[in-house]
Symmetry: C2
Subunit: 688 residues, 2 copies
Amino acid sequence: MPVSEAFAKLCVNEKPPAESAVAVKSLVFKPKTPKSATPVPIVVVALQSTTTPSALIANATSSKDPRLARDDLVKQAFQSESARAFILGDLANATSNFHLLIDHELGTVDGDTILQLNDSTYMKKSDMMKFLNNFEDSQKVVDFSQEVSKETATEGKKQQKKQQPSKAGTAAAAAAAALEDAKLIGITVDKALDFPGWYQQILTKGEMLDYYDVSGCYILRPPSYAIWENIQKWFDDKIKAIGVQNAYFPMFVSSRVLEKEKDHVEGFAPEVAWVTRAGSSELEEPIAIRPTSETVMYPYYAKWVQSYRDLPLKLNQWNSVVRWEFKHPQPFLRTREFLWQEGHTAHLTAKDAEEEVLQILDFYAGVYEELLAVPVVKGRKTEKEKFAGGDFTTTCEGYIPQTGRGIQGATSHHLGQNFSKMFNLSVENPLGSDHPKIFAYQNSWGLSTRVIGVMVMIHSDNKGLVIPPRVSQFQSVVIPVGITKKTSEEQRKHIHETARSVESRLKKVGIRAFGDYNDNYTPGWKFSQYELKGIPIRIELGPKDIEKNQVVVVRRNDSKKYVVSFDELEARIPEILEEMQGDLFKKAKELFDTHRVIVNEWSGFVPALNKKNVILAPWCGVMECEEDIKESSAKKDDGEEFEEDDKAPSMGAKSLCIPFDQPVLNEGQKCIKCERIAVNYCMFGRSY
Amino acid sequence: MPVSEAFAKLCVNEKPPAESAVAVKSLVFKPKTPKSATPVPIVVVALQSTTTPSALIANATSSKDPRLARDDLVKQAFQSESARAFILGDLANATSNFHLLIDHELGTVDGDTILQLNDSTYMKKSDMMKFLNNFEDSQKVVDFSQEVSKETATEGKKQQKKQQPSKAGTAAAAAAAALEDAKLIGITVDKALDFPGWYQQILTKGEMLDYYDVSGCYILRPPSYAIWENIQKWFDDKIKAIGVQNAYFPMFVSSRVLEKEKDHVEGFAPEVAWVTRAGSSELEEPIAIRPTSETVMYPYYAKWVQSYRDLPLKLNQWNSVVRWEFKHPQPFLRTREFLWQEGHTAHLTAKDAEEEVLQILDFYAGVYEELLAVPVVKGRKTEKEKFAGGDFTTTCEGYIPQTGRGIQGATSHHLGQNFSKMFNLSVENPLGSDHPKIFAYQNSWGLSTRVIGVMVMIHSDNKGLVIPPRVSQFQSVVIPVGITKKTSEEQRKHIHETARSVESRLKKVGIRAFGDYNDNYTPGWKFSQYELKGIPIRIELGPKDIEKNQVVVVRRNDSKKYVVSFDELEARIPEILEEMQGDLFKKAKELFDTHRVIVNEWSGFVPALNKKNVILAPWCGVMECEEDIKESSAKKDDGEEFEEDDKAPSMGAKSLCIPFDQPVLNEGQKCIKCERIAVNYCMFGRSY
Ligand SMILES: [Zn+2]
Ligand SMILES: [Zn+2]
């Protein structure tokens, strides 16, 4: 058979060096068919690193629920020994029709690259493509990477259809955004051209996060979890200093308790996940997983607080909550399970509670500005946007330059007495029992792993992650350089030893440093690796540096170089890290400041919005007017490209907050939208 | 009406001082009845602090699903204005039959105590009982506190019936165990006489934990969560030092993934909680909540590990897992959701993996012995008791003297290549591709909040909690003493200021200290409070101490007193705390050592077991023999009292572990139970 001979000929006999080959998998899937029908097998050829969700395979082949084929089908269709032993060459033996799906990511691999097809088969990329072109009729290129977040095998049959129309457009845009000189390991899309694609790549290739086989859930890998730990430590110290104690309440809530506060539960009910079965027993009543813990905790607050001396009661928990959103999930920003802290406090007076709300908001702004180098605007939410069931909500709001959208950073709510009346959290009046009893004044406040997503969007670039030094898992990598074939073994050893001593001196002063002394990789390869992963500074050390008793330090964010003498290592490196931290903040702040514009007339509103600004506008404070602003500022369907992850193709501007720091409102200034007098400036914007 | 007049007469007109009155609630419940039937109202009179679960009320009145009655029933049955306005005096107006349930806890309140019945009604305890005795026919005393853990309104209809037979016996035993001089706030049962009742009280009254309205779930209040945080910090530092990194994987698992490893899943399947619904939508496939994360994590390990250079991969997570046990729950020991850490590592060689398993086990023993002052025996689990799906399990085993039962402390598993073969977690052989590829060698290891329960059972006493200083949320309380009516305001101030300066000096050297300067409570009352809560040392400071420039330090565990001069505070207090830590361990170790006995002949086995020992016995290592030992050592139903929480009335001895530290096995020594030659000493015991 000529075709199968062709395959054998194309194989490379010589095994390439282990690291240079790119692993490719070929898998056979079987769609679900009625018993009487013959299934058409689906062959998927993809990079080993590409996830190929069943739903996408189904979509591309118009078949139903494809699963990995068993031996019988693979034997019968391709005369392979088993499903496991299947190899692309077997396509030549096909006894009937099949589908051939080719991973779009293969396009990023250079034609001369050697691919590893299984334990012992290697082939040049261009040769494999030649071979596959024998089956041109069955062939289709599928962009698994663009779609993996939206689809899983378990759900979304309906969504599939909805998304199809936008797919073609997206694929074209993605192709345009592919970075010219991108290497396989690096980022292959441009932040400026395909922001969602870039965001996805940067998180997965930077090893912050991985996609998970339950839709809307993600794995936090060590680099992102370490950032969370650093935030936890900072914030935990702050709240403990003001008397907050940590506790842990169960993740389950009975429906009776969950539904106690009506306004509150209405906001969450559509997203609550319900446990109805344990082992093989149906539960008598379904039990909810907490979407937040107000109704979980407050019945016990009412029990524990027996006297005004038991107030204030200030508890916090670090936990995860579940909100089963049906909107398009986004890593860190909109996920079905997420990590957060939730503080819940009860006070004797409104004044105490209100002071704390603002104190906590300052801590939240501190997490963003001091740790993550992300500028935020503090303010109050409008009645429309506040936490349901509370009195008022304070917030810190961020800004994403690429999309020009605002993003809610973290919120601190004053609940007033609404919940305490509902749960009878009350004490006798300290003035005596002839005075009325007092219902506690309550707050709740939360900060989630969303902060990490905001940080990534703001600082990272086309080379990979940029992580502020104060929160980065590692702050510095030491890399020996200048070792060539001419370097003697003794010299090499000396360089390595010196580098190790630099690493260990840095660790001793508390810098999170590590070294990469692997001789199998070039310094250039290592530079790219650690740029991708966002290590804040790299410290290079070669023979010439040793002669001069110095190291060369390169900052991740702007490649700025510093020469630091050995004597000054302990003093200078922390300074350089702090300088970088400061510069990241400064740059982000300038961008936010120049894209937060004052607009006093409606005619300027939408144009300013379309220039990727958020807007400070005089506003009357009336909810109907707020809704009118949103509707009137929605993009009309005029053929303009919309971002894939927009909730609707015509998203209007929402109120983000009423900033505490207010521009001066002129006497008699009217609302930007209606005829009423403005009561203050409100910040509006398209938002996440 | 004479009875209602009687009630009014019994009321106390003068309002007692706020703190001395004990709050009592009277609630009216309505059982579920067919529409045609007239419901018999149920009046519950209970301490404000007593929880009165619906299921228990149902049980005591043989009625169904009682709920708080609405106005209409209360108006009709007692002519009260509303359900809220109902007061005990209204019983005199009853137009028909009713049930009257009286909280057993009221028995602990002295007859002369003033009870507060609502905002303005006060009555002497003895008078209230007199009044209630007017309704002797309807009346029943219910022990809500003993039963609250077993019953919730949401489930357990079947369990109720099962538990009834044992209830009468328990109530009698509980009455006998009630401590003679117990005060309301203190522990009212004797550790030696009613261990389960004592354990429940000590946890709730000591404010470690509270019962929750979803059965089998508990609230970890700050004192217990702080212990967990101290353990976390210690253990986290240890594992990070050996290269483990923290991460977070989703709590949800698809059924396909959960069921991948058959042996493994069989162990968990009956306890898995399933989410089947989100908001009002049924999920297409049910999703499990992780009972442990092997199958959650390993598919991604297989994806991430592409080369032997990616090994070892060592991840840990701090999270909660859910195992929906249907056995009787026990706070900390057997709960449906619990907090733990789970480490999962993959290694290139078996040797590396096995070394780590033991290293981790040493850390676990360190948590018990160094932090919690709880002695443990390290060893290996038998084939019968090992982790399903793994190669071998190592464990540290503790001992509870009151019950004579062993308790599994924490386990560290070597999984071998079982999971790596299942999930294809493999790498090319470092020797070259002509050598076979290598499946990773894996470990998993976990330590849960169970440790806190073990610690409480071992050290605490009839006065309350005893918590080892190294893990206690607070280590020391400063209490001014010797202030009488004769003390001048100036003197009082001076004592308080000196006490505050002691507190602040201790805090400066890192001692977790606080002071209680509240003049409304006597020193004696404070002493009891902090003994109940297990604060390791209290520091007393009165006028005479100030004259002598000294404080008096009293240890919680044995009331041992130390006099410490002001000059030596910073040096001596940490020493005293460490001495107490050491003494707690020493005492517990002596008890374990004297109750771990070597038995070589079967005739001595059960008698030794019945003397509350665990047993070291020569053993053949055969699983059938292990089962035989268990059956043969089960208590026969000979009228002996069984503990309430025994899984079966005739629990036999299980193998606890094969200790690493082995007694010398004589040549030719036979197995304790069968005719085979013993291969080592195995530790057997009744167990939790
Ligand atoms: Zn307006
Ligand atoms: Zn035997």
